[in-house]
Amino acid sequence: MRWAGCFFAVLSMLSIVGCSEDGEAPTKEDSAPKSGTQSMSERAMEEGTYREEWFWHDRLLEPPPSAARPGSTPDPANWAPRLKRLTTAPLTELEPALEEMAADGAAARNALCREIDTTLDASEDDPHRRYRMLMALARVNGPEAAPTLVRLLRDPLQETSTLAAELLGECDAPWVTPRLLKSFGKWENNRDILTRVMAIEALTKYRIYSGLPQLVALLAENTAQEVPDTERNWKRTTRMAFIKDEVRRILREISGESYGFDSGQGEAVMREAVGKWQDWWRAHEHEYLLGERTPHDAEDAGLREQIQKLIDIGFPAFQLRNVDNARWLLEHLGPIAVPQLMAALDRPELRVRVHAAEVLGRIGDERARAAFAARIPREPEASARAQMIEALGDIGNEEDAPTLTKILESESEDTSVRVAAALALGNIGGDAAMTALDLAAGSSSDDTSKEIAVAVWSAKALHGDDASFESLLSLLASKSLAERAQGSTALLETFHASIEYDPYSDEEKRTQGIEAWREWWANR
């Protein structure tokens, strides 16, 4: 530690004579609000595109410039007759037309992509013609096709969006992964379960497995899909069975297990198989999300560019929906995004540092621990320190308990940071963390300590400590409205249980709430 002090002093000397460590270390001044800049909302409003602005976060995922298609310019005179044959041929003559296109390889790819893009730009309402071209594109797929395939994820024809998702997994363009995530995630108005399934499978081709829990959940789904399949006139239940067969195929290819699941079998057999798949996912979740099969660095410059956009544009964004979008996508990109998120911890913008720490915690990648250890001691803002500490708790490595204990015990530290340290120790658990929490629980009780004491009770209650739970519960019975609010918030924050207790309600209802909590604790 004294060497660190020596380094600190030398570093400071350098700053006196006009040097600095890297010239970019954030300060409070750096974090100060900037004024006078026109926001995207403001600009959009003036330009009359205000309502479109609600979805500007979509533009974060536009193909990066590096994804521009190289190659020769297709000659329309040469391709037009063949495209016409392809798109108008009766089904019996379709195969030769597809073969004819495939024979031209990369040149056909360029021609098909250009023609598909043209129909999309013109909002041409002939999705079936586009689907034919996509069928041909499937035979000459490659990274150059990715920008077009991304656009086709939104095609009104379900077959097209589904096939586009499948082909995105085979075109060797990792930069499409954020867009694929979006196509099965919470931000898209998903019309077709099969498109989501294919997007999840495509992501696995880039070794991103965060969609697998959705597939396992889909196997357990009993309700038929709400969207009727007008194209093939299948019965909904038949279609759901088909989708489940696809899911089973994907899971079997990834895991090598099938558990005898067959959608044509009886309910009991299916339930048993689904249970085994759920067990399989629980057993392998960590391995798939964070293990060796997931790449730690993405070589694809386009993907790095997409990730950087999410950090640079999404994190400082004014509207929280854009921040949420960026956070969600980065969280689901997982370890691939970690190196750039770690670098973002040193950014001058406070919001970028806070949200980078938040996402690193949600991803839970161990590599972030070293970045936090380096950053926390020189982080000037309490909000960022607290977030980094919370993230350490989310990662949950017991080796961080001593660092967190020092922060919890540091009386000169901001209360919010100490509270975060207590809660992080609770999340980490283990002997060292619990000892630190026990010691903190016995300290004095001025106003600051009360806040920390509640955090310590929460952390200990999380590990089943009856006395701590009773301490929290006693707050609910307090005559002080503030204490009741504090107690109920702490209980909900810790357990997220659906217990109705409103600190503002009358005494009778509050008593019922306290009893409900007591019963929940007894039966948890």
Partner: protein, 355 residues
Amino acid sequence: MNLAARALGLVLVLGGAAYLIFGGEDPSGSSEPKATDASGKPLRTWRSSEECAECHPELHEEWQGSWHARAYTDPAFVKQSNNHALRDCVACHAPRPVFETGAGLYERVLARADRLHEGVDCLSCHFLPDEHLASTREDVDTNAPCAPVYVEEMGTVEVCAPCHNQHDTVDEWRRSPKGQEGVGCRDCHMPTEERAPATGVAARLVRTHVMPGGHYPELVKTAFEVNHTIEEGKIQVGVKNTHLGHNLPTDDRGRALDLVVSVFDRAGNPVPQPEALIKPGQTEGTFRARFRLPYREELINEPITQIPPGETSAFDWSLPVSTGKAIVELYFKLQPYIPDGHEDSTLVYRQELTF
């Protein structure tokens, strides 16, 4: 390099040397010198709104009863945030001080890590990064225990915007006549009352901190006018946003205003709405319209039907019977998912018409 930077360097050297000598192990890095008041005394560090009650008991009590104070403990919020599991909501329901990240129409607050139960608290709006507290008064007593200082933005829309423009309310205001005239948020939501602003201080006009809004049906009732006529077998209904400085209703997700017209035949039998138009939770009446800003991706499929300030949304429906009775009602819902007839669906207008 300027003088201030060199002075900072010197402080760092001394700090580093002290660290070297005394082996300090505080990992926080929070070794900055404390800010001082006019007499050079270090400022008290404010940690909770509870501390404000020491000198401002009335204002504190008022705030404690407000929906700002309940922003995090409100049962409806608890439910919508999945019992506080969704962290994305914390930033505006328990924000760190606005001035930490900056007041402005397109600024945004960060989430607090502690005292979440205090919701939008005193410090959220008044606390300054240098530990002074922000006041709207140029003649503020800077020797008061909380060392308040005048801050130009305090009390302006720019302090409300970091949260309330997340769902467009402040932009709606900017486009409105009230926004053009410079009538701000506090002119409607923080009226004045004559009373002592702090213990031992003479009474004067003080802004209240109840912040009434959508939770106050009596206030909602003053926001609009309804016009209706029945002519030539048609009922025409118009709802005009007469008084608001923002859309009616404002805010997405949380608010909906339902216009319900129930037609009865001469025998008093209700004429139901066509089956195809019935939506979950919206089952009453013969005709109906909803005023609302759809939530996020709902915008893809649903139109924006809010009523901008000064504008009227009008409807023209053919009556299904030639004689009878029509009842025109407006229901204000704090959440659009509240079904007809629920206790939280508040009737804010009702008129019976015979034809």
